[in-house]
Symmetry: C2
Subunit: 372 residues, 2 copies
């Protein structure tokens, strides 16, 4: 796999083309092969970079025709450039998510943006990096601004949240808020979430139905999403009467992602004679990390080990081995969240609907395989 | 209030009488007045010490008649003396709770003991002090012993529990387990709990119905019990349309109990012109702590500030100001837990019943008052 710097270099270069007007809205960009030669990197790297830019909204794909420059080329920058956007329009919606420009978040935020801008609302974006202290700062900043509503993705939702009173302050000020992906239970807030327990269950059951018994689950447990996926993982074992075994679950926190988790996995896969046959991952990022470590050890996915991702992100198709993953409506969640907040504001903070729960589905690709 | 050492001294002295046979099973002990003179302490201290011993099962009260020595004088020691008990009987039930001999735990454990011993089961007690590492040690120790079932009160249940695999190991070994007070959600275990959300709600609504609006809630948030009580507290505000205000909720962890919380409360009550009119406490221990701090400042409970406890423990009647508190069946929980585990073992690990949820009730005493 190419170093991340090459991937970033490609992204920066394409952004430069767009910013300079070298590629104009609606114009087709170079093919993967052309760019691979141009930048002297693998097609895999090009595919990942283009995937990222598609998810940021700078490029779009047309089936069979190729990849094109979007009609709102600087959309991502516009969103982040808060002061500009605010001055243009009347009503402001604050958006606080753990991340903004990574992974599945651009899709969710594009969904919000598409609906909110059509209704002449502007977005004020802020991210917490899944850090409680940063969430506090975001909430304080939002409360100081003249916002009309807030959409929030909780931070470290599997522990007690000490910023509870800021949410109560929002209520006190009659500013409606909606939580997405998960919610803090004490507040019983309106929420739009995914049935993550079911997602964990169907990811695991897919492996069980394909003859796997020695299945490991890797879950991020500082967010409730991971706690629920783990719950579904355990239920799949129980319901199918698959025996439990030691170290069948690996848990990690946001802070562990850079080093600790990689070390844990290296140790886990050290004895190549004693590997699991299947691995259920918290998300696609972890699935790719696992596949990478296995590749370094000469272990083939899916021939030796099957790996299931989660989120059906752009990563699931950008990698060499296309990931079997759990899909859910990401952009739709953004749209639905935006619709909810606008309708609540326009009905004087009344909204009968207090929750939407999406059902996840399995997408089978090449990272999983039947065994005997 | 007397120093805790005096209280402990009285307890030790009475235990000594029982151990030496100075007071025999069924014999009445000295009156509160007599002992107060004897030990040169207040009647209040005597009442607390006797309350504790009643809850430990060493003494029992007969209404109108006085307090007597129990027929199984060394019952508490016998329970803790694990090897002795184990040799006597055939089947062993492990009990892992956060605490054993404090607060409401003696009542719960006596309930278990009374049923289990009647069925010729013995108890192996262990406590975690609400520490994850100690829970791990307890579980490892239980798994090494020849236990037939385990009753567990979760440790730090509002965060992810890293000892999950020990519970799966219990399942793998076909050892039934039951969780009490709360449960780890991933495991979906059979459980016997209290509706703590409702408890928090009725404690708060009691104050609201008595004209209070500036009500503070103090909750322990490293256990789900406290998280749910806080949830009920917030719901009572919302449902009665009481305005939220800053610092209406104080949260603390097990480790904060000794110093941090006391400091927080001292600060909170520093400005005696700006006091809340009502305080909802996580439990009776906190209620007494609050009353103490207020007393030091010359603030009267309930004339100036109303205080609600929780658990209806022996403390609620032992203190000078009898506590309005939330009551729930403590000994019955122990009996029900013991019945469940015995019936599950005797039905080859099958039990249709997977949960019991008790409804809490308010007991109104002297620590709360109507205001205009």
């Amino acid at each position: 796999m190419e170093k991340p710097t090459k991937y970033m270099m490609v992204i920066d270069k394409i952004k430069e083309w767009i910013d300079n007007g070298d590629i104009k809205p609606g114009e087709k960009i170079y093919s993967e092969n052309e760019m691979a030669k141009m930048f002297n990197v693998s097609r895999h790297t090009i595919r990942q970079a283009v995937g990222e830019l598609v998810h940021e909204g700078l490029l779009y794909r047309e089936q069979g025709a190729g990849t094109f420059c979007s009609s709102t080329p600087k959309s991502k920058n516009n969103i982040s450039d808060q002061t500009n956007v605010e001055k243009l329009r009347g009503k402001n919606i604050g958006i606080i998510t753990t991340y903004i420009s990574d992974y599945i978040f651009p899709s969710i935020i594009r969904g919000m943006e598409s609906y909110l801008s059509s209704k002449d609302y502007s977005l004020i974006l802020a991210s917490t990096d899944n850090d409680i202290e940063k969430e506090k700062q975001c909430l304080e900043a939002m409360l100081k601004r003249n916002i009309d509503g807030v959409i929030i993705e909780p931070t470290k939702s599997s522990s007690y949240n000490p910023n509870m009173h800021y949410y109560l302050e929002l209520e006190q000020k009659n500013i409606p808020y909606l939580m997405i992906n998960q919610f803090y239970s004490q507040l019983q807030p309106p929420h739009i979430i995914l049935n993550d327990e079911k997602g964990g269950f169907i990811a695991t059951e897919h492996l069980i139905k394909n003859g796997h018994e020695k299945i490991i689950g890797i879950f991020k447990t500082d967010d409730l999403q991971g706690v629920y996926r783990m719950k579904g993982f355990i239920r799949a074992f129980r319901q199918n009467q698959i025996p439990f075994f030691n170290e069948m679950m690996i848990s990690y926190s946001t802070e562990d992602l850079d080093h600790v988790l990689k070390e844990k996995l290296e140790n886990l896969f050290a004895d190549t004679n004693n590997l699991p046959t299947g691995i259920v991952c918290y998300n696609d990022t972890i699935a790719l990390l696992v596949i990478n470590i296995l590749r370094e050890k000469g272990i083939n996915v899916p021939d030796d080990v099957s790996v299931v991702g989660y989120d059906d992100s752009y990563l699931s198709e950008a990698s060499e081995i296309k990931l079997t993953s759990i899909t859910h409506p990401k952009m739709q969640m953004g749209i639905d969240a935006a619709k909810w907040i606008v309708s609540t504001i326009e009905n004087n903070n009344n909204n009968e609907q207090t929750s939407i729960i999406y059902e996840p589905e399995l997408v089978i690709r090449n990272s999983t395989k039947k065994i005997n």
